[in-house]
């Protein structure tokens, strides 16, 4: 018997039971066939879930099995070598990726957050140009990464910026590629802050920018941070655009921002994988393990930060 203080879901369950009883009394009981169908469908759903889970597990297990023999210090500190794959390492690639990511963060955090703040809080959505910016970012998020590589080659390596094949060019290319991710995530985070926070601050006499900076942005911080970390994770694994902007694969010296060649972890892995000797394949798999460990630590930082500063309004 549903009482007044019983929770609503229970009551609607009772209602559903009642409806079923009425239906069954008119149309007869649900057939065995229907019950079998229900179960079979549930089985299919669970199968799909299993397949997806197994593929993830297979990728991880494969890279551990293939890569673990080379999981040693040489892998991190040695230069690449085409002659001795047993001791060759990823040193310039790891440094290259680190420099690359540092540049990406320096670019996407201010620009991404500022764009999101403008679009959510300052822009007048009636104006056509603001709607255009919005549509533009949605579409930019779907542009294939290799097209950004073409942009980098034509405008950053050569053309107007003419930086040449240097880390800074790769960094800027990848930063432009992941910028929409940061903007979209930051907009979500800003939108999740109740407008009463902003309005309260404005009502106390703070200017719009003061309210945004001290109230809205600090409240949206965890969400924005999550977006930045997602973008960084994507930037670490991105290889395709770097092929075009000169992450040439065989440098045996440490990179510099504005001169000389450079390499990056995923590009180096791709290069090792294409060599015929078995030892290089092990080396490539070990490189994947390094990259996955890096991604995992970055993601766990994100999860930890999110859990620490999560707020329910």
């Amino acid at each position: 018997m549903a009482t007044l203080n019983s929770p609503l879901p229970k009551r609607s369950q009772a209602a559903a039971l009642g409806a079923r009883a009425v239906t069954e009394s008119v149309f007869g009981k649900a057939s065995v066939q229907l019950k079998v169908k229900n179960l079979a469908f549930y089985g299919i759903l669970l199968t799909a879930l299993t397949i997806a889970t197994l593929s993830i597990a297979a990728i991880l297990i494969w890279s551990i099995i293939e890569g673990h023999p080379r999981l040693d210090l040489n892998l991190l500190v040695n230069n690449p070598s085409s002659i001795s794959p047993e001791t060759a390492g990823y040193r310039p690639a790891i440094l290259g990726s680190t420099y690359l990511i540092a540049g990406v963060i320096l670019f996407i955090v201010p620009i991404g957050v500022a764009s999101a703040v403008y679009m959510e809080l300052f822009a007048n959505r009636e104006k056509w140009y603001n709607r255009f910016i919005e549509l533009n970012i949605q579409n930019l998020a779907g542009v294939p990464s290799i097209v950004f590589g073409i942009l980098g080659l034509a405008f950053i390596v050569r053309g107007p910026l003419s930086l040449g094949f240097v880390v800074a060019a790769g960094s800027l290319t990848v930063a432009l590629l992941v910028l929409p991710t940061v903007i979209l995530a930051s907009r979500e985070a800003i939108r999740a802050v109740p407008s009463s926070i902003l309005e309260g601050s404005l009502a106390l006499g703070a200017t719009l920018w003061q309210s945004v900076r001290r109230q809205v942005l600090s409240a949206a911080f965890p969400g924005i941070l999550t977006g930045v970390i997602l973008a960084v994770a994507r930037a670490i694994g991105e290889a395709a655009p770097l092929l075009l902007v000169g992450a040439v694969t065989f440098v045996t010296f440490d990179p510099k921002y504005l001169e000389g060649g450079y390499s990056a972890l995923p590009v180096m892995i791709y290069n090792y994988a294409g060599r015929p000797q078995e030892e290089f394949h092990t080396l490539a798999a070990a490189g994947i393990l390094v990259m996955l460990l890096l991604l995992m630590s970055i993601n766990s930082i994100a999860i930890w930060l999110r859990a620490r500063s999560e707020q329910n309004w």
């Binding site: 290799i146 942009l151 703070a206």
Partner: protein, 320 residues
């Protein structure tokens, strides 16, 4: 700063007559302009992409060795041979085959996963499965490509000895691997669409005596259909642009038109990625070819993305 300002204001006897700001606040205006400039950077990016693609593409078609007709209808793609031919169809077919195989994998799996997530999964399970799919989405595609080339491909070859496998490359297997890459995208977008179907529709169906699987398949799925199609279109667009997996698994392929999934076929992205790794001189036909193929790729994915945005807007309009 703001707190001191508040006290100053409320302590002012003439407060009502001084509601207007005391200074024109140029700082605020400058900040707004700076923020707008930041937002404009992404517009500049898009414009730069279009300009950087179109310039060399125009030179490409102006070259006496190339005709528009040959480009779009020719069936031989050999731009760097001594006697080059520029029919883009073989690599477009390669891309479309990757997309088809990817969708064969990702449509059923992605949609079933999203039905499970939105209709069946208890909250606790959802909290585990969602991040798991995010892991798959976050895996570098080089990793998936390597796994496919060194493990999945040999395994599939071993399991299907009756198929005419030849060589280490296969466009079909590349497509399956790309399917794995896009599953999380397809399932999360269609999960969003299904969750935005109002509870009332489900409850109405239950009240009429429908079972859970009838509600999922005959009420929620049709109600969310525009979002699900958007998910598929977005997945296809992502598959068109996928580069590393096809470079590793689909191989360089042959220059002739082919539809055989067990052989290696070049795709548009693999062509660009493979061609541009060397230091190609600006302005040569070789260099311009990359941009012509890039333009085709860009406009294909742009059309798909615009379609997807329209579809998503449609279900938002109906239910929000």
């Amino acid at each position: 700063m703001s707190s001191s300002m508040v006290t100053a204001r409320s302590g002012d006897a003439n407060f009502p007559s001084r509601l207007r700001a005391e200074s024109p606040r140029y700082g605020e205006k400058i900040i707004k302009a700076l923020l707008a400039t930041a937002a404009a950077i992404s517009v500049v990016t898009t414009i730069s992409i279009v300009i950087s693609l179109l310039g060399p593409s125009i030179s490409f078609f102006q070259d006496p060795a190339v005709t528009l007709r040959e480009f779009f209808t020719g069936t031989q793609w050999a731009p760097s041979l001594a006697n080059p031919s520029f029919g883009v169809l073989p690599i477009v077919v390669g891309t479309l085959m990757v997309v088809s195989f990817a969708l064969i994998v990702a449509i059923p799996l992605g949609i079933l996963l999203s039905i499970y997530l939105s209709e069946y999964a208890p909250k606790r399970v959802r909290k585990v499965v969602k991040p798991l799919l995010e892991v798959l989405e976050g895996l570098p595609t080089v990793a998936i490509g390597l796994f496919t080339f060194f493990w999945l491909m040999p395994t599939i070859v071993k399991l299907t000895p009756f198929l005419p496998w030849a060589g280490p490359f296969s466009i079909g297997v590349a497509g399956i691997a790309v399917g794995l890459v896009i599953i999380p995208l397809v399932s999360s977008v269609s999960d969003d669409a299904m969750r935005s179907v109002p509870r009332g529709l489900r409850e109405g169906a239950y009240a009429l005596g429908a079972s859970k699987f009838e509600v999922s398949l005959k009420v929620v799925l049709p109600a969310a259909i525009s979002g699900i199609i958007a998910a598929i279109v977005l997945g296809a667009s992502r598959a068109v642009g996928e580069t590393m997996v096809v470079m590793l698994v689909a191989g360089a392929g042959n220059p002739n038109l082919s539809f055989d999934p067990t052989k290696g076929i070049q795709t548009m992205t693999a062509f660009i990625g493979g061609r541009a790794t060397g230091d190609i001189a600006t302005g040569t036909l070789d260099y311009n070819t990359i941009f012509a193929v890039g333009s085709l790729l860009f406009f294909m994915t742009l059309a798909m993305n615009i379609l997807a945005v329209k579809l998503v807007k449609r279900y938002r309009e109906v239910y929000d």
